[in-house]
């Protein structure tokens, strides 16, 4: 029987009590302009997945061109650059970041901490609507004269704002405005997440009793609050270069025999600003994924997470180190070789806490009561994929190896494995795991397994050979490689194979969508805790949790979140809010 605190003096003075909560009065304030973190989470995740599907379709066109050059007559070089730019930017910023922080963050932080809602619900709502505006501005660039920008997702100046680059007129402006809006919206949400974690935890929920999911999202949010300002500065400065003719990043340039008005700017300055944001961005996506995977593995292996303290410390260490590795993306920019040595060293050091996490996941699985549920399949697939991408990262983090591999398909394969496929596997795992709590219905497991196996095996069929293409010297960002003397004909055959698999994997996502929609109506009833999990979100009085989450009584936390298979316990899990000793003589 769970203990609970009632009354205004019962909870933390900072937890909004039921009476203090904003209560929606109409359909619009309940489902559209909602201040409930759970609704906002669904709005964030829905928007992010929708724009993610757009980016997926863009990737089909990219693969169509690479695998079967000339087949799609509507894809010329300009369109190709627009496709790769929009695919990259949407996936990294508008999909992955938004799903992990806006989606999982909003849903799980209050529930896992035993809070009724975020501390600043109105700001939270505003955060989503500004995010949506950012997405709409970005989408508008598809319809603007000249189309979206084709500057590459890194938007490197000077070429990003010069004539000749697709989308130079409107596309780049809309992209930069959209990024500025995104950052403004995220900052509102980010401040909210951090304050909620610091001040709105349920009684008894010490930091060292927080699930690793919350640790990951919390640390990633802090990173984002410190990394996004760099992108904001870069975006504003580039916007001024483009619109007002300032020369923050633009050197003296002669174009078609004419000297442009620019002069003295530093393109390298932009690279520093971009990657000061860009590398922590990898961990802004990865840390929530690490946390979620830890919880999925522990729950579905019915075993406490191995090395909880080490996992927490590793998350913090990765967070700190992620700010001193940015220039490993710039080895070929002509920077001082001593800097290269420094950044190669820090890159190797950050592999240590990351490796600790991988070892701990494997040791959690070791002799666990592994249930190969769909979320577990995705979690295990993440470990393998992240390890894979991490290992190729060691190649690229080393200056002497990076230089010949730079700008080849090896780099594309590496970052898709580590930052594309791996976190998306976690997103799927998380969605399969928490969908029953969000809707009260189970997702269809058979469809889930079909979705998993096609996605997992397909991703490997796409990106494993891509490493080989990179080693062959096939360059990235090339519209067409036919006729290049240094690219063997076999590379084209391999490209065609990769494209065919990419079409299949993309189509398999329709199975997932179908499952999501079908299960809303036809899914088996989930009950409150279908995975027999310990964390607080599974202990809510109602499923799906109503506005305010906990009814009249807030939960009280008595133990850490990983009490699985405790010897002598009547069941193989003990919820965090269960006060009674597990058995006589158990350690109190």
């Amino acid at each position: 029987m769970s203990d609970a605190i009632t009354g205004p003096q019962g909870g933390s003075p900072l937890l909004p009590e039921a009476d203090d909560l904003y209560h929606p009065h109409s359909w619009w304030t309940r489902y559209v302009f909602s201040q409930d973190a759970k609704v906002i989470a669904i709005q964030y995740a829905g928007t992010a997945l929708a724009i993610g599907f757009v980016a997926l379709i863009l990737s089909w066109f990219i693969r169509l061109q690479l695998g079967f050059p000339g087949l799609a007559t509507f894809i010329g070089p300009a369109e190709y650059y627009q496709l790769i730019t929009m695919h990259g930017m949407i996936m990294v910023v508008y999909m992955l970041t938004a799903v992990f922080l806006g989606g999982f963050g909003n849903y799980l932080i209050p529930l896992m901490l035993g809070a009724r809602d975020m501390v600043f619900p109105y700001l939270n709502m505003l955060s989503y609507w500004i995010y949506l505006l950012a997405v709409l501005v970005l989408v508008a660039s598809f319809f603007a004269p000249g189309g979206p920008t084709g500057a590459g997702w890194t938007l490197y100046p000077p070429q990003s704002i010069l004539a000749g680059t697709p989308g130079q007129e409107w596309g780049i402006v809309l992209m930069l405005v959209s990024l500025i809006l995104f950052i403004a919206g995220f900052t509102m949400g980010g401040v909210n997440y951090v304050v909620t974690v610091l001040q709105a935890r349920a009684p008894g929920m010490t930091l060292m009793r927080m699930p690793l999911t919350v640790w990951g999202i919390f640390t990633a949010t802090v990173l984002a609050l410190l990394a996004f300002p760099a992108l904001l500065v870069g975006a504003v400065m580039m916007l001024l270069d483009r619109l007002l003719g300032t020369s923050f990043f633009m050197p003296a340039i002669i174009e078609a025999g004419q000297r442009l008005r620019y002069g003295g700017g530093s393109p390298i300055l932009f690279q520093h600003l971009f990657w000061f944001f860009g590398h922590p961005e990898v961990y802004i996506v990865a840390l929530p994924a690490f946390g979620i995977v830890s919880d999925l593995i522990s729950t579905h292996a019915r075993k406490n997470i191995f090395g909880y303290r080490m996992m927490v410390w590793a998350i913090l260490a990765i967070g700190v180190l992620s700010f001193v590795v940015w220039a490993h993306h710039m080895y070929v920019s002509g920077m001082n070789p001593y800097f290269g040595f420094f950044f190669a060293t820090t890159t190797l050091i950050i592999a240590i806490p990351t490796a600790i996490k991988v070892y701990n996941w494997v040791l959690t699985l070791w002799r666990g009561d592994i249930h190969l549920t769909v979320p577990m399949l995705f979690a295990i697939a993440f470990i393998v994929t992240f390890l894979n991408g991490g290992l190729t990262g060691l190649f690229l983090g080393n200056v002497v190896v990076d230089v010949p591999l730079s700008d080849t398909m090896f780099v594309v394969a590496h970052f898709h494995m580590v930052m594309g496929v791996a976190p998306i596997l976690v997103i799927f795992g998380g969605l399969y795991h928490w969908y029953p709590k969000v809707t009260g219905c189970m997702l269809d497991a058979r469809l889930g397994q079909i979705h998993f196996w096609i996605t997992f095996l397909g991703a490997y069929a796409i990106f494993f050979p891509m490493h080989y293409l990179g080693l062959l010297g096939v360059p990235r960002r090339y519209y067409e490689t036919a006729g290049l003397g240094f690219v063997p004909p076999s590379a084209e055959t391999l490209n065609a194979f990769i494209s065919l698999v990419a079409f299949v994997v993309g189509a398999a996502q329709i199975v997932f969508l179908f499952n999501l929609l079908r299960s809303l109506r036809h899914g088996a009833p989930a009950g409150g805790n279908p995975w027999r999990a310990t964390t607080l979100e599974w202990q809510t009085p109602e499923t799906p949790p109503p506005h305010g989450n906990w009814g009249p009584a807030l939960p009280v936390v008595y133990r850490w979140p990983y009490d699985y298979s405790v010897p002598g316990a009547p069941e193989d899990f003990v919820p965090q809010n269960q006060p009674a000793p597990v058995r006589a003589g158990a350690v109190p």
Binding site: I5, Q9, G10, G11, S12, P13, L14, V119, T187, V191, N192, V194, V195, Q199, A200, R201, P203, G204, T206, L207, M208, R209, L226, P229, A230, V233, V236, M237, L240, L244, G245, T246, S247, F248, R261, Y262, G264, G265, S266, L269, H272, L273, F276, Y308, R309, V312, W313, L316, F323, V556, Y558, R559, W560, Y562, D563, P579, P581, V582, V587, P588
Partner: protein, 232 residues
């Protein structure tokens, strides 16, 4: 980027000090039962103040990055083509606004609401004066054509003052909101909490401005900023 790293190190030190008190070496798997009182102790910082502090830490990094970008892009010998006398005046207005807010906060704490409202009005006027002065300097640079061309120092001046001015504008909106509520509502809320938040915000923006002023113009503290931004 050395200033940015130094700024991050300071933030890191605060975070480390806080984390050191969070029992991160606990073994939570052994600690069943509540190790802390079930009723959470009263927090020493209000959520709004904490949220504002976190926002200011993030905004501080934004300005640190601008300073670092300035140091990378603009040679140490380049100067903003503007007479700094006007900027000294605006700086004193900003400092005056900050002092007035401290006065307002002290008065509000003692329950002297009318005195506090008057001080808030003075702070708002000084803040508006600061913005007006900055806009005048902007206008002068714009008219001379410096801001739109490759003159990096002038372009940075416009960019930095615009971003700082936007933050000041947001502070003015907050001040107006607090003052209007105190003046117009039949049962106005206590002035002290809102005034305390405004004081923190304006102090931070004053500190940021002093760094920016020392970067863009020659001031007694410019040597220190140069040493931080342009090591070696």
């Amino acid at each position: 980027m050395s200033l940015v790293l130094a700024y991050l190190a300071v933030l890191g030190a605060f975070a480390a000090r806080w984390l050191a008190r969070q029992h991160l070496a606990d073994r939570p798997w052994l600690a069943v039962g509540s190790p802390h009182p079930l009723v959470a102790p009263a927090a020493t910082t209000s959520p709004t103040r904490l949220g504002l502090s976190i926002f200011l830490a993030s905004a501080g990094l934004l300005f640190s990055l601008l300073v670092a970008a300035y140091a990378m892009r603009v040679p140490g010998t380049a100067l903003v083509p503007l007479n700094p006398r006007l900027l000294w005046l605006t700086t004193s207005l900003l400092a005056g606004a900050s002092l007035a807010l401290h006065g307002a906060r002290a008065a509000a704490r003692r329950g002297r609401e009318e005195e506090a409202t008057a001080a808030l009005g003075f702070a708002s006027a000084a803040g508006l004066g600061f913005l007006g002065g900055q806009a005048f300097a902007w206008h002068a640079l714009w008219q001379a054509g410096h801001a739109q061309g490759p003159d990096a120092a002038a372009a940075f001046f416009c960019l930095i003052t615009a971003l700082h001015g936007l933050h000041i504008l947001a502070g003015l909106v907050a001040l107006a909101w607090i003052t209007a509520r105190a003046a117009l509502l039949p049962r106005p809320p206590r002035l002290e909490p809102g005034t305390a938040l405004c004081t923190l915000y304006w102090d931070a923006l004053l500190a940021v401005w002093l760094v920016l002023f020392g970067l863009l113009f020659r001031t007694p503290w410019s040597g220190l900023i140069d040493a931080l931004c342009r090591p070696g």
